[in-house]
């Protein structure tokens, strides 16, 4: 009895000493980090109009689960706390405050949405909490001068549209261009980028612009209007459902136009299949990820790795979902950053490592595309490769283009 009591007493004092000493110092330097855990915060639209993107959060959680099962990173397990914001900025603000102030997360990873990320950017920068790899292609998030704690991820929409504009100038200099775009930040970025790519002196090439709201059932009417303008080039800056409608309608109308498609809607299984493979022939996109529905990648090592991951941690549905493979890559990027941090997981160092990625390759990125960041380059993915759909797969052509 006595010995046990003595033992307990002495170990209690030892623990207390340790706690007040080393632990507390570390906890103060590294919020959200304990000896065994790295707590990461995220908001995703699991419900509401953008719920199709919720699978990204689901995939990332599964990825970190896989890492944890293999022992974690430098002995610490990753705890991704992913909350639903229904794609509504006020709710995003609320959830982020909860994660930061109540849950005490170390930093934020891959929060989704342009307006959503914009709504929390000031708060996170003021509080010096890293807002890493935001899941949006809006160019305003690669601004190290004003918002040093916010790092982008997706290739910029404006860059992509600029690439299309330049390609039009190069291949069809006398074209009449029409654009269908979603009436929000995403779609409007494409409009801006296209105008940029064509240049001010060719601005007259755009003969018709038509926008749509996500609350509308169909964009058929817009496509008819665009065709009526006599355009022979069409840029479809639409999310998957509306892109499929536009592709199908433009074919059904017998409109012989060169069609460019945003890479957000490039998934063969989600979009081309719905629109019809025959009707999707000739589409051009600027791709950066491998599409599993593409027969060209049937025996690709990266795709096989992704397949094995899905078999074990997700399901067949996610395997064919471009959003899911995107999440897979983003989570891998995050894991790389954490590895680079080593023992110093303070917010400053996490940001430092996140802006110090050199030539990282991921299994689902197109060959040749690498991830790079630096203190002046907050856009990790800048390269795209043009591809054309031949009814079966996306045929890559040309060189890697950097934006």
């Amino acid at each position: 009895m006595n010995t046990r009591r003595q033992f307990l007493a002495s170990s209690a004092t030892a623990v207390a000493a340790l706690a007040t000493g080393a632990f507390r110092a570390r906890a103060a330097d590294m919020p959200g980090i304990t000896d065994t855990e790295i707590k990461i915060g995220q908001t995703m639209p699991y419900s509401g109009p953008a719920s199709a993107y919720g699978v990204i959060g689901k995939t990332e959680s599964a990825y970190f689960k896989m890492i944890n099962e293999a022992g974690g990173i430098n002995g610490r397990k990753i705890n991704l706390v992913s909350l639903d914001d229904s794609y509504s900025p006020p709710k995003t603000v609320e959830q982020v405050r909860r994660l930061a102030e109540q849950e005490g997360v170390a930093f934020f990873f891959n929060t989704l949405g342009t307006a959503q990320n914009a709504s929390i950017r000031q708060y996170l920068n003021d509080a010096k909490i890293p807002q890493l790899f935001v899941a949006t292609g809006a160019s305003l998030f690669a601004d190290p001068e004003h918002f040093p704690w916010t790092v982008g991820y997706n290739p910029s929409y404006q860059t992509e549209a600029r690439i299309y504009g330049k390609h039009i100038l190069a291949t069809k200099p006398n074209a009449k261009v029409a654009i269908l775009y979603q009436n929000d930040g995403f779609g409007k970025d494409y409009l801006t980028g296209l105008k940029d790519g064509l240049g001010a002196d060719h601005a007259g090439m755009i003969v018709k612009e038509a926008s749509y709201e996500t609350s509308e059932p169909s964009v058929d009417s817009q496509v008819v209007t665009l065709q009526g303008s006599g355009a022979d080039v069409l840029l479809i800056a639409a999310t998957p459902k509306f892109a499929a409608q536009a592709i199908r309608k433009s074919y059904d109308l017998g409109w012989d136009a060169t069609r460019y498609l945003t890479n957000v809607s490039q998934s063969i299984t989600a979009v081309m299949k719905a629109a019809g493979f025959e009707k999707s022939k000739g589409l051009i996109t600027g791709a950066y990820g491998k599409d599993v529905g593409d027969p060209a990648f049937k025996d690709d090592a990266g795709v096989k790795e992704w397949q094995a991951f899905c078999d074990k941690y997700l399901s067949h549905t996610e395997f064919g979902d471009l959003n899911a493979s995107y999440g897979y890559g983003a989570a891998a990027t995050m894991a790389q950053v954490l590895k680079q941090c080593g023992a110093d997981l303070s917010r400053e160092n996490v940001l430092k490592q996140a802006t110090n990625i050199q030539n990282l390759t991921l299994p689902m990125l197109l060959p040749g595309i690498t991830i790079n960041t630096s203190p002046t380059n907050y856009s990790p993915i800048r390269q795209l490769k043009l591809a054309q759909f031949n009814g079966e797969s996306w045929q890559l052509f040309g060189d890697l283009i950097a934006g």
Partner: protein, 290 residues
Amino acid sequence: MALFLHQLASGLALGGIYAIMALALVMIYQATQLVNFAQGEMAMFSTYLAWKMIDSGWPYWFAFVATLAISFVGAVALERAVVRPFAKAPILASIIVFIGLAFIFNACAGWLFGYSVQSLDSPFPGRPLFGVGYISAHELGSIFVSFVVLALVYVFFRFTPLGLAMRAAAQNPASARLVGIRVGWMLSIGWGLAAAIGAVAGMMAAPIVYLDPNMMGGVLLYAFAGAVLGGVDNPWGAAFGGFLVGGLENLMGAYVVGEEVKLSVALAIIVGVLVVKPSGLFGRRIVARV
């Protein structure tokens, strides 16, 4: 001219879908004085069931009929179990219940079937008819089906004893009971019919707008607009309103105001019509005893 015909054709195709949704809404409204906000989500869920069946290999028309049957039975059960208990509660309480049902159907569809866009093949042959691309085969078929549904419903209510009983139960429940009509069951059957009609709307819409859990939100909105425009106490007026909204929406967007404010303008027009004709174009002027 070609442009105009294209716009008109696609507008009428969607308009037909709005028309039959408006009909379903008005049917329930006439019987219960309640607007079923969950009608769209129920239709979407039915369409997913159809998709699942077709995906598993069932032939289209077989799945079509099976879906109608399941929707009918399901809605009858839903009415008895969830809606009927609130019959005596304040009207807004029932409205909240419908909003709750809409959330449930939407979330369950996403959970069970995923959020990726799915396609439902059209039962009508792919090649455009008459060799011109003015109207696709599916659009024509969809308009045709809309008319068939409207005709069948009309015949049902006008010429069958059950239809007569349902009309009586809706117009004057007390007197209907006195002549031996089971008013409660008439209500349930009304719900079943409305759900079946909604399922048809969903299945006609899916090849055009594609299937995802948020498919019917926009459709329901325009169906409301059509019902209001045509008059909510007149089923045929509401259906006409649906066609009108579909055509107007496209033509206004293309020719008058541009696509950017199409939605706002369409809705402003409806408000405008209501100011002039407060019961809708074909609604009855209700004269109430003071």
